[in-house]
Symmetry: C2
Subunit: 272 residues, 2 copies
């Protein structure tokens, strides 16, 4: 299916003056599409609105929403990627005040992950690449993603379904394209993302579900020692749901009961 740029089929081309290309000056969302509908759209839009606010990008959110809905309808099934940039400008970091933010929509097939990832769990590659601590950008799904690109280049072996990333201070943060949860003594724990990391839509959905189900939940800094002591571990995102983590860096975990419970909930959330 053709990409759309600003609501129109774009035949694969974007403006060379776009600040997304020049500086990574923008945001993106990766949205599962099922039966012509964007899954977890409200949470994706909430994160986009937060990102626009933090980056001072003034975009017409209702127009974006309507284009995403129309594009998903046309796609049917797969993964919709929305890129929202600050638009065009002349050379230089100063933005052009009259620039119009640019909306790019792209369609991909649903990724063909092995079923075993969800059923039996996955191994994580222990990435050497650390996440820098930048509170101004933490949590956002912005277009400055060289850390993830470098981290993902660390392994080619398909035995590793994901990579584990720490920050430059050694805290355990997330996967390369997933968020991470631990379970310890019945408490669900996920990293505080005030300094770095991407606040994933599935992470947000699971935090809400945990609250609804009165599952105790801590959003906090996580040390490697806490990782070692975890009873269960899983990664999640809004495309694949939840994968139990069976091992990383010589450590191993069973697939635990809370992981299975939340996995079932994530599957329901994605099967809209």
């Amino acid at each position: 299916m053709h990409s759309w740029v600003d609501g129109l089929p774009a035949h694969g081309l974007a403006s060379l003056k776009d600040r997304g290309l020049a500086y990574g000056d923008g945001l993106f969302e990766t949205v599962a599409v099922k039966a012509g509908r964007p899954v977890l759209l409200e949470l994706h839009m909430q994160r986009l609105v937060l990102g626009c606010s933090r980056l001072a990008i003034t975009a017409d959110q209702s127009l974006i929403r309507s284009e995403v809905l129309a594009y998903a309808q046309a796609m049917g099934e797969g993964v919709l990627k929305l890129i929202l940039t600050r638009g065009d400008s002349l050379r230089g970091y100063a933005a052009c005040p009259e620039a119009q933010p640019r909306r790019i929509l792209q369609a991909s097939p649903a990724p063909a992950y092995p079923l075993a990832h969800a059923l039996e769990g996955v191994q994580l590659f222990d990435c050497a690449t650390r996440l820098a601590e930048q509170p101004l950008l933490a949590g956002l799904k912005h277009l400055n993603r060289l850390e993830q690109v470098i981290a993902r280049s660390e392994w080619q072996d398909p035995a590793y379904a994901e990579g584990l990333m720490r920050d430059t201070s050694g805290r355990v943060i997330e996967g390369v394209f997933s968020n991470l949860f631990l379970v310890r003594d019945g408490v669900l724990i996920t990293a505080d993302l005030q300094r770095c990391g991407v606040a994933g839509v599935m992470r947000a959905a699971l935090l809400s579900e945990a609250e609804r189900l009165a599952i105790p939940c801590h959003v906090t800094d996580i040390s490697v020692e806490q990782l070692q002591q975890a009873d269960e571990l899983f990664v999640c995102n809004s495309v694949y749901g939840i994968w139990p983590v069976r091992g990383v860096a010589g450590l191993s975990w069973p697939v635990g009961p809370l992981t299975r419970k939340l996995q079932s909930i994530a599957r329901t959330l994605l099967d809209v």
Copy 2:
């Protein structure tokens, strides 16, 4: 003048699948062009080669060089911007091994900075935006530039020609689009860029010239206290050369003799 993409006139459009747009996965160089020749080309190419090596982008450097030379010749005067991305890929952080790096060349007029910037010196805005510490990317002129975009958005008042940036630990690093030098007791001092910052081409040229002229020079961490105690201060880049810094954050400096000496050298370097 038309942009070129991979050596051909591009009519302002780039591939929507380019990883430069998706992730800021690439590098750039901003090169002054005088009388059809790219100024300080060897230093720009050296930094590009270093960036390609650090990001594992395998590009044909002699092809890039020949395109830059031809494009500069066609431009005549102005600023040439080279963007080198990892090329296209499918969705996801993993690069496509067979992807061809993409070369984008863009022309802009030489910026019309007030002559007073060079003659009388400039005021720096004291940016609140801090540079995150990421040794894997430090020194490179990569396309992940949201920190500079946010910093540059902090001021609109043309009384400030540049902004001063510190890192998240408070060290004094650079300008938003310049490097910074102090002079103290006849010693030239510039920030160590092992943790963050862009290792500018004019900075490299001035370090070489200082060595040639036996001007003592330290590349080291710089504290705010050292900034306060400096005898002279200047910013530099490969387009405007050197601007003396007269003030930042309530501090002030005269335009000093070593600044004037290096400014004259920088002018010579740019007047190729």
